[in-house]
């Protein structure tokens, strides 16, 4: 079985480790990703003003591409997922908007495409039990703090992935891989998102609060499903400011943890570009 996959701008560049590990684990589980043809950026933010037609054209064009690829597109980036699913929600519920947007797209969108996050496919189609059965390298002793951030969960009425206040999907994934899952109160707090560009002090402070909370609850690593969360948490611990920190915590993508647990080759772990090197976590593995 192959699935149409939309990598988005950041997985092709800055978050290449998410991309390589994600594709490798999907392949290993028999759900190989087929990159969506002729894709472009989704827009990276969901338009919040009522006059949002322009900003919905790019994600709608991706839904057209998804339909041509069989009607189902999956993502790894939480922000791409958020933008595509909310766009899909508007197009399904506001026929007049669908009509207006179709004036601007090369080919009309007919409705009905399915947008999923890879975590959802694992939970609903592969199942945690089956994933657990595929683990060849149980990560017992690795204490991981699942960090969801914002856009994977909120707003629940449109995203519908999990309970926005008490999510479980990353917890369940990591537990299936044999990790020790650490609960911490900052798991759905904001990392500061694109304020990294305009007000960089703010994400840095938010990241330190999130990391401190994870560390105090016993975590050896934080695990996320969003390339911007990963960046903000990891970059807040970069070498230049590390002397001001009590301790550092590696920030991993869930697909990287999966790649290790499934016994995949280290070439596809994609852990060479982190600000805090996570490889020491796995140095005791056989």
């Amino acid at each position: 079985m192959s699935i149409a996959f939309f990598p988005g701008c950041t997985l092709s560049t800055k978050a290449a480790g998410y991309d390589i590990s994600g594709r490798a684990v999907a392949q290993a589980l028999g759900m190989a990703f087929e990159e969506l043809a002729d894709w472009q950026c989704c827009g990276a933010t969901f338009p919040l003003a009522t006059d949002n037609t322009m900003a919905l054209i790019a994600p709608t064009r991706l839904l057209v591409q998804a339909q041509k690829a069989g009607g189902h597109v999956t993502t790894l980036c939480a922000i791409c997922f958020h933008v595509l699913r909310r766009t899909q929600h508007i197009l399904e519920h506001q026929p007049e908007m669908l009509e207006r947007i179709n004036w601007f797209t090369e080919e009309p969108y007919q409705g009905g495409a399915r947008v999923s996050h890879f975590l959802e496919l694992l939970r609903e189609e592969f199942t945690w039990g089956a994933l657990s059965g595929r683990v060849t390298q149980p990560l017992k002793g690795l204490k991981v703090a699942p960090y969801y951030g914002c856009l994977l969960l909120r707003p629940q009425a449109e995203i519908g992935l999990d309970n926005p206040d008490e999510p479980a999907i990353l917890h369940d994934c990591l537990a299936a891989l044999g990790c020790e899952v650490v609960d911490f109160p900052y798991q759905t707090e904001c990392c500061g998102s694109y304020l990294a560009v305009s007000k960089p002090d703010l994400p840095e402070k938010l990241a330190h609060d999130i990391l401190t909370s994870a560390r105090r609850n016993g975590a050896n690593a934080v695990v996320t499903a969003c390339p911007l969360c990963q960046f903000n948490l990891d970059y807040a611990q970069r070498k230049e400011i590390r002397h001001t920190l009590e301790d550092t915590l590696p920030v991993l993508y869930f697909t990287q943890v999966m790649a290790v647990a499934l016994g995949l080759d280290q070439d596809v772990w994609g852990m060479d570009k982190h600000y805090v090197d996570p490889l020491f976590l796995f140095s005791d593995l056989r």
């Binding site: 701008c9 009522t50 909120r154 926005p164 560009v197």
Partner: protein, 134 residues
């Protein structure tokens, strides 16, 4: 300093613009303060999120000079907790748009340090540009 409020300003153009752009009814807010209690950036802002909406309700357009509207990254925590179903990030978006209509871009690409641009992910750049530039 005295702040003058009047029926004219409460029913005035500014309130109308905010409500039209955001699609939200400002007077639905009863000032319970849950948005401010849960806001992850409230510690850094000059006024609290519930005060932003209060000023807007009264038609006081000085609210556009608040830094709060530029610290909101639309994490939607307030949306998930508002007992009146108000989408406050949409109100913040309306204010950012009105402010930029009056005063132009809030960041310029030339202000960004090359070191930072080399490090931040693409989606942060795109997101930042879309929120801070017209």
């Amino acid at each position: 300093m005295r702040t003058r409020i009047s029926v004219d300003s409460v029913r005035g153009e500014f309130v109308h613009q905010i409500e039209t752009i955001s699609g939200q009814s400002l007077l639905a807010c009863n000032q319970c303060g849950k948005c401010s209690a849960g806001c992850p950036v409230a510690f850094s802002t000059d006024i609290l999120p519930n005060q932003v909406i209060r000023l807007a309700q009264l038609g006081i357009d000085d609210v556009l000079d608040s830094q709060t509207i530029w610290s909101c990254a639309a994490c939607l925590t307030c949306v998930s907790r508002c007992p009146k179903g108000i989408d406050l990030p949409r109100v913040m978006e309306a204010m950012r748009q009105l402010k930029m209509e009056r005063d132009g871009n809030q960041i310029e690409t030339t202000d960004l340090s090359p070191e930072m641009v080399a490090e931040v992910p693409q989606l942060a750049l795109i997101g930042g540009f879309r929120k801070y530039m017209t």
